[in-house]
Symmetry: C2
Subunit: 308 residues, 2 copies
């Protein structure tokens, strides 16, 4: 298959790797020609890391499948699927989707990586709006495989299904979001948990380190290979409904204290920032991000072998 | 050190393994003598599983350190630390803590495994209330290392610290909860996320399987080795405060739709139950629990090697 990558920032680069790793030919384009050259160098580095971690076998072959092109028209020529990853600005999405819709063959799927703008906000007036949708990754998608797929009300069901198939075909883990909503599912769940986490620290029950330990040495372990529903399904003798009936009372009582919709206060932000900087000085952030990516690679390799 | 295990159900058995694995002598007692004999057999089985997974090296030595005793007095004789794991009933906690406080040497720490009853509810009138507190595990604690440590307002700070040291000494990951609260930290976070998860399914945005994929192939990966605060700290160029300022607006907007304190409706419970049963029939629950424990063991081994 031929894939068009529209926008070659961090997200676009990672998508290029995902599709090329999956065996597809990738045309990568960016409004800024310098950005594309820069992207090629960064891709080479990331592919080397993946190879060193034992996650891919043919780095040269993978890189050879990624071509930089000079125009959007070239990127879309012959592409069955296009993945747009420009900055999160509505006007830019409107402009690029209008161009993509005008240039691409009618059967090309046009997907956006946006994490916050619903497809209906920038595709309504397009002739080909039925082939436009969101395919929202987590960065970097070659290490974190979930992809949230969410159409506008006018997106063809067949386009949703083709996007799902494309993603599954390259080893990603697609999730269908049936209706548009703020933040899709992943950030909604993250937001609900973060809101409680900020509140617990703000009210002095726990500090940032203790809260992170509670998740990384407790709650997050089962979630990392089962998710929250399978976790509770296995946590009561008779399954999920049994669990819900046993613990509804407890969780409902807690929820009465979990309703604040305030903005995060500058006080709690600064308290948390100070606690984090005591654990990790600012000049160590970059090194720690590289550590995180190595840990994600090791976890991906572990999960692959555990699932075999 | 000598450890008293009070109550030999699933939680008590698992604690016996944790302390014996840590090199301590364990006296295990239960109000029902038949339960203790049963517990010994189950412990032998669990220790064999840990040995097969490469997580312990001397199963016979570990088992030899666990002694069943016939009276609570024998269990507490010479014990520096006692861990109570009876059923979650306030009257039982009051009764057993009164007995433990009367029988144990004044310096013995008296800890309860309760996940839902604060220490102040059953220790207020005890002469030795200053040495009583909660040490709440996740089941099974030999695979999920977090322990929430939470005293009553009258618990001595030195007792909290000794409990922390005991836990760290046997390889658990203790977290200090500074003030009593409903559900401690782990279940508060789980409750906040589950409430949003139930809501998203109830309103038709996603199904149970898609939500679990979103977590196990996305959100849960970084949380399983970093926790939520370190995750966001590394997700903005300048760290946590930078992230909070960038995304407060988005999360605050979502929170306006995340305030329901209703009980989980029977409709959504049955919808989720039906979706789970389509993925995993009821007669496969037990086999899947064994799979979960094998995956937890494999993940523990992976994390151990990744952290070395």
């Amino acid at each position: 298959m031929k894939i068009a990558i529209v926008g070659s920032g961090l997200v676009g680069q990672a998508w290029a790797i995902v599709f090329a790793r999956g065996g597809h030919e990738v045309n990568m384009w960016d409004g800024d020609p310098a950005a594309v050259a820069h992207a090629q160098a960064l891709i080479t580095k990331q592919v080397a890391d993946l190879h060193n971690a034992g996650l891919i076998t043919d780095p040269a072959g993978l890189i050879a499948r990624i071509q930089s092109v000079m125009t959007l028209e070239e990127a879309l020529a012959g592409a069955q699927y296009a993945q747009e990853s420009l900055p999160e600005r509505l006007e830019m999405k409107k402009e690029i989707f209008a161009k993509m819709d005008a240039l691409a063959a009618p059967s090309t799927v046009l997907a956006s990586s946006t994490s916050s703008i619903p497809a209906s906000a920038f595709t309504e007036n397009l002739a080909g709006r039925g082939r436009c949708l969101i395919a929202h990754p987590v960065n970097p998608p070659y290490l974190v495989p979930v992809v949230e797929i969410c159409g506008a009300p006018w997106t063809d069901a067949a386009v949703v299904q083709r996007t799902w198939d494309v993603m599954e075909g390259v080893g990603q883990k697609p999730v269908k979001i049936h209706k548009e909503l703020k933040g899709f599912v992943l950030n909604r769940l993250q937001g609900a948990l973060l809101r409680e986490a900020f509140r617990l620290v703000e009210n002095g029950y726990v500090d940032a380190e203790g809260l992170d330990v509670t998740v990384k040495e407790g709650l997050g372990l089962r979630w990392s290979f089962m998710g929250p529903f399978e976790t509770i399904d296995l946590n009561a003798p008779d399954g999920l409904a049994d669990y819900a009936h046993r613990f509804d009372e407890m969780y409902q009582a807690m929820s009465l204290e979990q309703t604040s919709t305030d903005h995060w206060s500058e006080d709690v932000i600064q308290k948390l920032e100070a606690q984090r900087r005591a654990l990790l000085p600012k000049d160590k952030l970059l090194a720690r991000r590289l550590w995180r990516d190595r840990r994600l690679m090791a976890l991906a390799a572990h999960k692959k072998s555990a699932e075999e």
